[in-house]
Amino acid sequence: MLRAITGFLTSTKAGIAVMAVLAVLSLLGALIPQGGTHEAYVRVFGSLRGDLIYYAGLGDVYRSLYFSALLVLLCVMVFSCALKRLPGQIRQASASEFVGEEARLEKMPCHATLELDVDAEEAGLHAAEICRKRLYRARREKSSSGFLIFASRTAFARYGSFLLHMSFIFLLAGGIAFTRFGYRSYEDVRVGGNFAVPGLDETLVVVDDFEVVYDDNNHVSDYVCSLLLTEGGRPVLVKDISPNHPLQYDGREVFLVSYEQDFDTLQGFVVSVHDRDGEKLVPVLYLPFGSPLEVPGVNFFIEAVDAVVPYVRITYPAGEAEDVRLDAEAAAFTRDGNLGFSVIHGVPSVYVTLEVVREPGEWLVVTGLALLTVGSFVCLYLSHRRIWFILKNLPDGKCRVVFGGSASRNAEAFRGEFEHIRRTLDELS
């Protein structure tokens, strides 16, 4: 029974089947709108297919039990396969034995025999030097009839697939850590409002401001939200967040997700200020409710006040104040008629949606992603290359060199390199 389970978990065929099923389910999940209701699926796909999609869980496939089970199964299989192959990989990567039988070398994918006009020792030194120049680690050993050489390059390439497969375990562990200990929440907050950071007592995030930034062509170039973080009422951090630039604090991150304008609730007015003859003193002036502004070029403060009928309050240098009711249709004037205000438009209040994330398993995910990258490159771009030489002294100071080698990947490139070594060595003949 145990053998059957182990056999299944380490079977390449079974692993490929699980990957194929996951690929098909993922594709279905991408094609079928997720999170719909039964009625919605029946309406879009018809009765039979709608029922099938809904009851088979294809409408929420990524959160279905069977999809999660398949992901876990794939990770277990990947882990089992990686462990099963590891001893062999270690053996091959660390093996550095010399080969003394010519017959063994002649069976290798690349092999050659040369007769050189130097003795075995000199030929051996030369062969080892050629290999070292090509970044091989070469070792020599004296034999009864001459020398033996073993040269090896990028032995760690053997561990590429292990690293690649282990990345899945880290990614799965990161996912589990997030599900178990992390959280993600969304907060809709009006500019000026605040919310409590989940899990942090007395920590508030105040949304101070939100601004849509435009470029010279009047295209939206950025969204900037000014946040103030307070602890027990005490400000501890001020940060402008925008897409790609979240706020980070005490293991939490706050992201700007979106914004929305509420046209039913204004946050101020854009007005033009002019004199009694209609000459504009300030062509465009934004007056937010509750924030007195010093009018440029005029010696008084002006403030918009939110009321059933909104008005502006003018505070003159002497301290006296005057309220002027705004009229959407016509200009409104001060009592003496010297100053008029025309409403250009109301400014809707803005809600921002912020995402608060705590991801305690982030280092696991980052490690997994790093292993995935390194593993795939090491696995497919590097090959463990090994060459064995047998050098035997012949009469008249000559020697016979039999050598053979193999590569774990890219046999074609190795053949080219082997041929280069053969030609270089043959120059001694």
Binding site: L31, D215, H219, V220, S221, N244, F255, V257, V357
Partner: protein, 265 residues
């Protein structure tokens, strides 16, 4: 009004096309009929293609990575570049012709979705991760395009008595996939996930384009396992490579239909 980029591409198209026809002719009538004329034409087409890419970069004041037109323009150019650097010397002529056909189709697809270079770049795209993610993903897919071209020829010539030729095609497919897979992994999957975390707060959101990229990754992972562990070669392996590239094309264009976080391109 037709832009300078479009004009250059409309000139490059027939040049590439002629190179493909000459290659095809050379494949059908072996000998010196096509000579090296196709190569000179191909290089001329590639120079024009490069000019279009540079012109777009200047007009948009940024590297052309932000929408479907720019992605296909860059990817088709990368197909030409990868072909010249890695495959020109050892690809059979019919495969070279097929590579040019894929390149032409990508340019055609790009032109179909031509966009105004001065249109605004979404704030979310203003990140240096854009360059890493998009360039590597497109480069990885470029190798898959070459594997696709060789696979098609392998399947067309599957009954050929020349086993050596079929083995050569099979090796081209494997070589292209094994070169493209790590680049695709680093660009589409890893850099994409890291950027997604930075921009959206999550490494993985099961967004349609993300998911379809995962499907592409799984298909090529299956190909590599079948080829390396189970020794699968020839038509079955080529079929997986073809399915992989069809899925790649769906991934590139899918977000136009499926929306999601990648709906801009």
């Amino acid at each position: 009004m037709t832009s300078s980029v479009e004009i250059i591409l409309y000139i490059a198209l027939p040049v590439y096309f002629l190179a493909m026809v000459l290659l095809g002719f050379g494949a059908v009538v072996p000998g010196k009929a096509a000579g090296k004329a196709w190569l000179y034409l191909f290089i001329a087409g590639f120079v024009l293609h490069t000019a279009a890419l540079v012109a777009r970069t200047i007009l948009a004041s940024d590297v052309p990575f932000t929408d479907l037109f720019e992605y296909c323009l860059f990817m088709s150019w990368a197909v030409g570049l990868v072909y010249i650097i890695f495959f020109r010397k050892n690809l059979p002529r019919p495969v070279s012709a097929m590579v040019i056909l894929v390149l032409l189709l990508l340019i055609g697809f790009a032109l179909f979705y031509y966009s105004d270079p001065t249109s605004a770049k979404m704030p979310a795209l203003k990140s240096s991760w854009l360059y890493v993610h998009v360039s590597l993903a497109a480069l990885g897919e470029t190798f898959f395009a070459i594997a696709f071209a060789a696979s098609l020829i392998l399947i067309i010539k599957r009954n050929s008595a020349d086993r050596e030729y079929l083995d050569k095609l099979d090796n081209v497919v494997y070589r292209a996939v094994s070169m493209g897979f790590p680049i695709f992994t680093a660009g589409a999957m890893v850099a994409g996930a890291v950027w997604a975390k930075r921009a959206w707060g999550s490494y993985w959101s099961w967004d349609p384009k993300e998911t379809m990229s995962l499907v592409v990754w799984l298909i090529y992972a299956i190909y590599l396992h079948m080829r390396l562990v189970r020794g699968m070669k020839g038509v079955p392996a080529a079929t997986i490579a073809i399915i992989g590239f069809i899925m790649t094309l769906l991934t590139i264009s899918g977000s136009m239909l499926l929306g999601g976080l990648h709906s801009y391109g």
